[in-house]
């Protein structure tokens, strides 16, 4: 590790050392011992070129792939969002200006999807992170077979969205599903998990929670193990019990980690797609008969690939992008404030 780090750091330091003169020449002079004489020798020119170009060659694969699969589609989507484009006639585009966006702002379905994305996001993220924090706290104690517990925690994350959702769909099926069967023991009437408003959102959230809690718990656990144990010892000497230790030592120490998981989970929640799509079954892109769990991602898919209105779907995609940018800015402001207050 150290040697490769040195190698990475080295060119920069040598360039700094030789600031003023040409870095390539300086390096060539140092490296070869007896450098080729004269500034015009092909060797020194090659080294100079090598010095300048190699870094770009090394980072090029990422930027080429990023350009081909992210940047160009992104810009192309923006172009599409200003046109009327049908999936069945991609070569017949007519200029629409901001019509698609105006159309969205006046569409009940769009606002509904935005609202659902938010409520499902909150329903999924808040309990998930709290549970993860608590689980990490428990795992942080000396347990027998702690590795086993950690692996078990990570298994839901390793399950595919499709597999998890299909199983949950069966559990939640209103007629003969295990959840309703269980509720029946307590005398609670069967709930139509897919068609009720709160019920369906809860069901979708629970799939997300199940998949991601362990993942977040492991991140918290890693951060917890970096907390010096003398903090706990002194807290114990001061008479703090475990809950108080958790509240006054662990949580404040984990603040940056918690912030990180909040950001990542928020982004994940904004892009929620697979779970509600598969939960909805055959016409899943509608997100239920009243669109009660149609997220922005689903609405985009429905408009673009089921209805075939690619212009509007592109507008939704860009709106989502803008929303994510706003979320990122809010997070940034919060982080700054937190840092200042510390």
């Amino acid at each position: 590790m150290t040697s490769s780090k040195q190698a990475l750091a080295d060119p920069a330091s040598s360039a700094e050392a030789a600031s003023g003169s040409q870095p390539g020449a300086a390096r060539g002079a140092r490296g070869r011992g007896t450098p080729a004489q004269g500034p015009d020798s092909w060797r020194s020119r090659f080294y100079r070129w090598d010095m300048k170009a190699s870094p770009y060659v090394f980072i090029a694969p990422f930027f080429i792939i990023f350009g081909a699969f992210s940047l160009i589609p992104l810009l192309y989507t923006a172009w599409y969002s200003l046109h009327n484009v049908q999936l069945s006639a991609l070569d017949h585009q007519t200029w629409a200006g901001l019509d698609n966006y105006r159309n969205l702002l006046s569409s009940d379905f769009f606002w509904n999807a935005l609202k659902n994305t938010f409520t499902i996001g909150v329903l999924a993220t808040v309990p998930q992170l709290m549970a993860a924090l608590w689980l990490a706290h428990l795992l942080n104690y000396h347990l027998r077979g702690s590795t086993v517990w950690r692996v078990v925690m990570l298994t839901p994350y390793a399950t595919s969205v499709a597999a998890a959702t299909l199983v949950f769909t069966l559990l939640y099926s209103w007629d003969g599903g295990m959840v309703n069967w269980f509720l029946d023991f307590f005398g609670i009437d069967a709930i139509n998990w897919r068609e009720s408003d709160v019920g369906s959102q809860f069901a979708v959230s629970s799939i997300v929670i199940w998949r991601w809690t362990g993942y977040n718990a492991l991140i918290y656990l890693a951060a917890m193990q970096a907390i010096p144990s003398d903090l706990y010892e002194s807290a114990a000497i001061d008479g703090a019990n475990r809950w108080q230790q958790f509240l006054h030592v662990t949580v404040p120490q984990l603040r940056p980690t918690i912030l990180f998981t909040v950001v990542v989970s928020t982004i994940g929640a904004t892009q929620l797609f697979g779970e509600p799509l598969l939960f909805g079954g055959v016409s899943g892109s509608k997100g239920g008969s009243e669109h009660q769990y149609q997220t922005l991602g689903l609405y985009m898919y429905d408009q673009g690939w089921i209805i075939g209105n690619l212009g509007k779907a592109s507008a939704i995609a860009w709106s989502m992008f803008l929303i994510l940018l706003i979320v990122a800015v809010i997070n940034l402001l919060l982080t700054r404030r937190l840092r200042k207050s510390q």
Partner: protein, 442 residues
């Protein structure tokens, strides 16, 4: 010494980059391998093997009936590969984008009846005109009409159709004290789906515990609509869903199911629906020919001999497909020949024998023989007779480009809200209307 280690690091990095790049290039090369070998083949190289690909959704039964193997045996220079995408809603957008990109299509592409009008109206120039190569009189007239453009170009050959019957569980009917003889039953509901609903009310009075009369209101709607001549579009291509007599009539029948307690309230093709078959939780299901194979598979052994088939109240069609040859394909001549062969009456009869997908070529009807397991599974019902009778009297319907999403809006939004959320029929109708406006971009 430091310099030498640094240089060796750089060399290693370079080597890594080089290895990665060649890996990528190799990946590309192996990807385009199929294509290049194909183009060599069409040029007629030494081996002369041509690979034809056929893109389908769901189970078409060609492979199951051994048709590909037969064809390859008859044509040693041809290899057939089937690319299956299970869900139509995933399959069709993929085909559309590839058609327009002019690359990546299979040599033969299947088209569902719900998408055929869109294909005819918007993609006709992307498909080979098959009209000249085949004897069109082999197919039912209305089947050909669906795949023919205004200027007479035939872009797809009919595969199966979905003539309607009612599949019912004899054992449950008996327990509910109803008639179990298929001809007498058909008499009881003949001519009107409302009579079928009336029988459902009778069934519910003495229904065996845990069972309902029908799987869902939407299935009754689809079955009834398949027998109406006017659905969502008129013959000039205008959307008339809210004025259509056929839609109104079918909607009302579906509403009388949705607002009663005779429906198991399942959603077709969902997992719980499959379980419903296995657990015998509903007594009847609207039964287009392709449903026969589905029931046999999902009900399993417990349904054996308990299911029976009776003629539907009205002759109707639900579903069915076409296969077309995209002009982007590299082996159009071979593909046309294969498409022709696959949809010829003899082959359609073979698919029926295996899969009970009903032929769209009347010439096959006299020779139709379902598999013996299927007939015994369905209490020796004369399914060939029942489906042929229905197929011959199906009215022709006008279709439009957005048939499929409009239909989904009515069944999965409108009807579902009434059936599962207890909304009134008027509220359900309004919700469907709002959805359809969104679909049509109004």
């Amino acid at each position: 010494m430091r310099t030498s280690t640094r240089r060796s690091h750089r060399l290693m990095a370079l080597a890594a980059v080089a290895a990665l790049t060649t890996g990528l290039l190799a990946g590309c090369a192996s990807d385009s391998d199929d294509g290049s070998s194909n183009s060599n083949d069409s040029g007629g190289n030494a081996k002369g093997k041509t690979t034809l690909t056929i893109g389908t959704f769901g189970v078409f039964g060609y492979k199951q009936a051994g048709l590909y193997d037969d064809y390859m045996k008859q044509h040693p220079d041809i290899t057939i590969k089937e690319n299956v995408t299970t869900r139509t809603d995933v399959y069709w957008p993929k085909v559309l984008t590839r058609l327009q990109a002019g690359s990546g299509t299979d040599d033969i592409q299947a088209i569902e009846v719900g998408n055929i009008t869109e294909a005819v109206q918007t993609q006709a120039q992307k498909f080979v005109d098959l009209g000249k190569d085949v004897d069109k009189s082999q197919w039912l007239d209305w089947k050909n009409a669906q795949a023919t453009t205004k200027d007479g170009k035939l872009i797809g050959l009919g595969t199966d159709i979905g003539p309607m019957a009612i599949c019912y569980r004899k054992d449950l009917f008996k327990k509910a004290g109803l008639e179990t003889d298929r001809t007498k039953l058909a008499e009881q509901w003949k001519g009107d789906w409302a009579k079928y609903v009336d029988l459902g009310k009778q069934y519910m009075k003495k229904a065996p515990s845990g069972t309902k009369f029908v799987d869902s209101a939407s299935s009754v709607y689809n079955a009834a609509l398949g027998g109406e001549s006017q659905t969502y579009y008129d013959k000039d291509g205008n959307v008339v869903w809210d004025k259509s007599a056929g839609v109104k009539k079918s909607w009302n029948v579906a509403m009388s199911v949705a607002t009663s307690n005779m429906s198991a309230k399942l959603k077709q093709f969902d997992k719980p629906w499959d379980q419903g078959f296995a657990n015998a939780s509903f007594a009847t299901v609207a039964c287009p020919a392709w449903m026969i194979g589905y029931i046999e598979q999902k009900s399993g052994d417990s349904g054996k001999g308990n299911w029976d088939v009776a003629a539907a109240p009205t002759a109707a069609n639900w579903g069915g497909s076409f296969i077309g040859v995209p002009t982007a394909g590299k082996h159009q001549k071979e593909a046309v020949a294969l498409a022709k062969w696959l949809t010829a009456p003899e082959q359609q009869a073979k698919v029926f024998a295996k899969q009970a997908s009903f032929p769209s070529t009347p010439a096959a009807y006299s020779s139709l023989k379902p598999a013996t397991e299927t007939t015994s599974y369905f209490s020796d019902a004369p399914i060939t007779q029942i489906f042929s009778d229905s197929a011959k009297t199906i009215p022709s319907q006008f279709h439009g480009a957005k048939d499929q999403p409009i239909g989904t809006a009515i069944t999965d939004v409108g009807i579902l809200q009434v059936e599962q959320k207890g909304k009134t029929p008027a509220q359900g109708w309004d919700a469907a209307g709002k959805e359809i406006k969104d679909v049509l971009g109004q």
